[in-house]
Amino acid sequence: MKTSSVGIVTPQRARFDEPLALACGRVLTAYELVYETYGTLNSARSNAVLVCHALSGHHHAAGYHSAEDRKPGWWDECIGPGKPIDTNHFFVVSLNNLGGCHGSTGPTSINPETGAPWGPDFPSLRVRDWVHSQARLADRLGIDCWAAVVGGSLGGMQAMRWALLYPQRLRHCVVIASAMRLSAQNIAFNEIARQAIQADPGFADGHYLARNTVPAKGLALARMVGHITYLSDDAMADKFGRDLRSGSLELGGEEPAEFQVQSYLRYQGSQFSGSFDANTYILMTQALDFFDLAREYGDDPVAAFRAANCAFLVLSFSTDWRFSPSRSREIVDALIAADRPVTYAEIEANEGHDAFLMPIPRYLALFGAYMQRVRGAC
């Protein structure tokens, strides 16, 4: 099928004045969420799909903000006319989560009580806080029940939490390259990222906005570590190998050699540190670490999923070692044991965790086939 772009999109803003009680015990008296929508809500309001973003994601999932925009939204491969989440049929809602740094209320917003940016004093958030705030956005948009809640990685965790917290408000839950909880190794990588940020003198215990400094080096380092874990060994070998960017490895020369992968990582790091907030990064990695789907169900994922009422699509990627196929199979096995409808596939892909953002033919075909089924019931 021919695919195309959703074209030029404009972010919208929703303000909520009803206080939101957070999992940490604190209350957010008011907040704003920035979001985009693609496609048209049908008259039965039954064709809405919620897209939940991952660690460094935001509301701009598809299309372009202007004709000059070089790059489309982060999940443009999967959202648009003729694409798996086909905007000819679905009304797609994509928001920047609470605590984010792309327009929704977060550490860079002004704390109404002090008149200064929240900074490190912004309340710590859990995945469920995002889910509750997304439910309020659904209320605002007049969506009683999502056709599907969809997410990759940390977004998949939100989708699963939706299925448990609001079982009557979604018909399908799509969980891509995710896990019911992080492993020790996974938490360890997040801790390195946080330590890198906190060790940067510019971080100033999180008060860098007030001090007018930027923990750019720390944030860049955090991103580099993360980025390596999102790629596979093979993907990095294919992309860079041992290619040199400058210098030489010949004996008898003192010119230092620089590998392509070094300059790539530095570029990724500096790009990221220029566009992402350090406190948000810490907040989001902590939400990832703290997520534990079955904790309050006696650590029994089967008991947890019995609370769900929707059908599930679970996808994993063969070379993803940050959220490996075995983590996805744990989800699938729990769903089977809980007698919930589930479809699962492990997509052969070279790109590691990042594969969930890539146009891998089998991935797009299968995701699209499943979304067609979702559409059938709209």
């Binding site: 059908a311 199979r329 699938v332 096995d333 089977i336 044991a337 007698d339 409808p341 589930v342 479809t343 699962y344 596939a345 492990e346 052969e348 089998r362 075909a365 299968l366 086939a369 499943y370 067609q372 089924r373 059938g376």
Partner: protein, 196 residues
Amino acid sequence: MRLDLTHIQRWIAPGSKVLDLGCGNGEFLQRLALERQVRGLGLEIDPDKITNAVARGLNIVEQDMDAGLSNFPDQSFDTVVMAHALQAVHFPDRVLEEMLRIGRQGIVTFPNFAHWRCRLYLGSRGRMPVSRFMPYNWYDTPNIHFCTVKDFEALCEERGIRILARDMVGNTQRRPLLASAWPNLFAVTAIYLISR
């Protein structure tokens, strides 16, 4: 729709829960869903067949039977079906045991290797039979555990598996008199309903 699939449909209660091991493109599960309103789950490993089955609106899990089925709880399905896959798994006996652990009843179909044409082919040519039903050469066939009607029934006897019903499909669509009377010689496909 393969002939053996139309046969086994009548053994499946309306509205029941069915696990289809090696469900292919989901044709059978879809038919069961439409005509018997079953709640089905299919296991498959072929990527294209999985996509095809998902496009039919079915629940499909990518899982290799040879790696075990221990993730399925005891007696969690009414019927576990395995159509034309018994001869392709590494440990057919273990899969049979697992089918009856997971399901209250099992339905198995397989090509009968003792069919007279196979015997004639092997007997006269001295080579592994290649036919319309078994179009592979010995070195590239997925069918690594061929058995006969007698072999299967002997295994069931040995493992204490009850044969509740059997159906033999002959060469023609007509009433399979020969296949019913002398299945080990005349059945092309053997179909069994089994339980513990």
